[in-house]
Symmetry: C2
Subunit: 527 residues, 2 copies
């Protein structure tokens, strides 16, 4: 089928969507109608998760319009083109292959004689071998002692995703006896970031992973020098303490400075790289390769659902289209991500990059300005913490903020406490349930200060437990959601030209090649 | 002077402000005009900081209109009324006295025969005495060994502010030999939060601070039980390991369960409590009472500037009014807080509560709906990390997001590294300078995908170093900004009725007294 890339405002189904009658959420979520919606508006996700959208401002009419929109914008076909190896990243003229790090969704994709699925699998295998040797004490420090700590040096996609995944699984791994090494992360060019991490670890027993696709990221190379100084000061040979994750063409690829090098390539964007060697090295060392493999399986499970042509059986596509409806028809500008799981404390920060860097664009795939809004602002903190922080504005503020909840029936560790006849986990779950209904239905009060208008939409992703497989599915869900939204908005979700200007100007500041405001600010900051 | 509380849309000066000519930021920030603005549009803050608003969309005409707005909305008089002890929190009919935790700005305020300034000072003195005894080993565990770790148990304002302040000063204290005890924080009702913290510490050498004003916060009492179980399992007497920070009327106040109790009261809102005993106990134990005293001095220094009637010499009021102009006239809905300091990693999360819980309101002080937007969404992460994450949307997204940068000339620790002729700290500063100019001025490119429109406003707070005094000033600046904005919007910034409905519904869920959607969701989560 011929694929057409058209702006959203030229799509017939979008015009129809704009004319659907708005759903009065407080009304439809009340009483038995609400109970019916909770049972009806749910779709299975990968690894046993479920996406429940009962508290979104949709009904069968809106959903029918979204189905037409999915069809007319050829979302399934565009995803097919992507995983079959077409050049979807039009800005940088690249393939987009992160799905292949966890599965083979369609045709084999061969680039320069290399089957990419085999290439990514081969890297995972090599990482697994290294991790096993480190865990068994076959690779040690110069004194023959086991490494106890792994430190990832990277920024952006080399930091946020892997860090969020590590924190998500740290306690699970401890409870399930798969915890191998503690992981730390150095990202910021702020010298105090590296110094604090280095002060908090035993460098003699630490293995550092330098992660930079290009091998030229300023922050990462600077922090590498920082770490090498620390190793040298401790009388250690840095090359016995460092591995690299990079592209085969990078200066880091064949350097004697590293114990080993593992590869990704230009077809894996940084923000989509948690399932590649970028996440693979640190997570395999921290938790063992088997845990990383389960994580990949969960993601692959979710990817398969994203192929479903039926919108109501495709959770990522459904989530994406409801988001477009909220953003472009209902006019909501921000989305809050609210996981009721302390282990997901940095998951919203990862989604912030994933979503805002992918879809924070003003031009379409052909470089022409679009006449409609694109990616929203994403922010969030775990519940119940957020309830005691910014939920006031979510409930009673002057703007409506769509909410993405995440909740699990069981916690990760085996300790809990019963207070007032319920466990903490039950309290946690009761709170997320209560919030969904409070936001949707509100509550009238004669004291307007205590009045809740309701009508504030949310969806919830529900699982039995946060574990490697469900985490993989959760991650892939949002990656695929962001991809589908980019297709609908007709933008290129896979480049990030917006980060370039700052880099250029920072170099000029450091070279003192400035005038005007740039020079004046430089003086204020003593540069 | 008679104080009038009027809605913003009835204010004459607001109508005039709405008619001012919009400033073309890309134009005025170019060339020498830009350099002039950087030098001209700056105002000293407390503790040697400076607030520079050159890259905001203001000029002398807009500033003149803001001056009229400040006058007509009687901001100085309202602040005076607040610190002189009038009932400013109309929702809960309470005084608002957090400024008194760090200074005496006006009249003595006596409640029930107690001078409140004396009361807060007395609590600080008692905390200092306890902290000194703990540090000297005069108060120890049952085995006569020194406590090494302090763990704060609290949520919302009892967690976010103190945690952000601790992280902001941890490395500074280590570099300046005032680091006394490591601090940890337990907040979430998620049982894995407490379990993970407890697994990571040596409970026998840990002192726990239970923080709850009412003594009834569900999360906090639940986590207290969690901690008591852990102490008991370790064969320890919990009452020798716990202190309380609460109000004098709370059930925790005179309990034998605690080594000591320190008091705050109903006139200190949780989100404004970092300078009270809520922040004082943990920070004094972690860094010593002298450090906490410097932090208070910095805040007091900033508070004094907030009294200035001249808008251009009142940084908090100026920041507040520029924010109102951006929110209500220019229509920007979100503000990003971007500190170029890893130590301020959780400062944006604290501001999120401070701002969104205070000003996320839809009714005025008299409970009448307002016809204009109020508090914005606040989010942020430290630079340069954010540059590699969500800055793409900030530069090239379809919505304009005002930015609040923070930068320091010097880092906190004494380690740095020179790469490509500059230190990491210089790179950090060069990046924030570059970003301000990139956002304001943009850069034309024939390739529209690489085009930057500019016109994206920011301000920057600049200091020599992040230390206790500058941190105090920084904190007080935002507290006062939020207060002034609440005055302009004619809302009550000091209550939080929006958090109540969720609490009520969560109790019903736990009691299984549900029907409709609440029951259906409860079943999905196995409650």
């Amino acid at each position: 089928m011929m694929i057409n890339w058209n702006n959203l405002d030229t799509i017939q189904a979008y015009q129809e969507l704009s004319k659907t009658a708005p759903v009065d959420l407080a009304e439809v979520m009340a009483g038995e109608s609400g109970a019916d919606r909770v049972k009806k508006y749910t779709v299975p996700m990968g690894a046993g998760l479920a996406f429940n959208y009962a508290a979104k401002q949709v009904d069968d009419e809106v959903l029918a319009a979204l189905e037409k929109l999915a069809e007319e914008t050829q979302l399934t076909e565009k995803f097919e083109a992507l995983y079959n190896g077409e050049v979807i990243n039009t800005g940088e003229k690249r393939l987009v292959l992160h799905h292949m790090t966890r599965g083979q969704l369609g045709d084999a994709v061969v680039v320069d004689g290399v089957d990419k699925r085999e290439f990514y699998t081969e890297q995972q295998k090599k990482i697994a071998e290294l991790a096993d040797k480190v865990h068994k004490g076959e690779i040690t420090n110069a004194a023959g002692e086991k490494f106890t700590t792994v430190v990832q040096i990277g920024i952006g996609g080399s930091d946020l995703g892997p860090r969020a995944m590590y924190l998500a699984l740290e306690n699970w791994a401890k409870a399930n006896n798969t915890f191998k090494m503690e992981a730390k992360f150095i990202s910021n060019v702020d010298p105090d970031d590296a110094a604090a991490v280095l002060n908090g670890i035993d460098v003699a027993h630490s293995l550092f992973i330098l992660v930079s696709k290009s091998g030229t990221t300023l922050e990462t190379l600077t922090n590498e020098a920082f770490v090498k100084d620390a190793l040298k000061n401790a009388g250690l040979d840095a090359s016995k303490h460092m591995i690299a994750v990079t592209s085969e063409t990078s200066p880091l690829a064949k350097s004697d400075d590293y114990l080993a090098a593992f590869f990704m390539d230009d077809y894996i964007g940084g923000r989509f790289s948690s399932t590649s060697a970028v996440g693979g090295a640190v997570l395999s060392l921290a938790f063992g390769p088997e845990v990383f493999a389960q994580f990949l399986d969960g993601a692959a499970d979710e990817d398969k659902l994203a192929k479903n042509k039926d919108l109501r059986e495709n959770p990522a596509m459904l989530d994406a289209l409801i988001g477009v409806y909220e953003r472009n028809v209902l006019g909501y500008g921000t989305t809050a991500v609210l996981p009721y799981s302390q282990a997901l404390s940095r998951f919203p920060a990862h989604l912030q990059q994933l979503d805002m860097e992918s879809n924070g664009k003003s031009v379409n795939r052909f470089g022409e300005p679009v006449n409609y809004v694109t990616g929203p602002v994403i922010f969030g903190e775990p519940g119940t913490n957020g309830q005691h922080s910014f939920y006031q504005l979510l409930h009673q503020g002057t703007n409506i903020i769509p909410l993405q909840f995440v909740g699990f029936k069981n916690n990760q560790m085996d300790t809990d406490v019963v207070i007032q006849d319920s466990t903490s986990q039950q309290k946690l779950c009761a709170n997320v349930v209560a919030q969904i209904v409070a936001f949707a239905c509100g509550k009238a009060d004669d004291d307007r200060n205590k009045n809740f208008e309701g009508g504030r939409p949310s969806s919830i992703i529900i699982g039995d437990q946060l574990n490697p497989a469900t985490l993989g599915a959760l991650l892939a869900h949002f990656e695929n959601k962001v991809m589908f939204q980019g297709f609908v908005w007709n933008i290129n979700s896979f480049d990030q030209e917006g980060v370039q200007l700052g880099k250029v100007l920072a170099k000029r500041v450091l070279a003192h090649e400035t005038d005007g405001a740039l020079k004046a600010y430089s003086e204020l900051l003593n540069i």
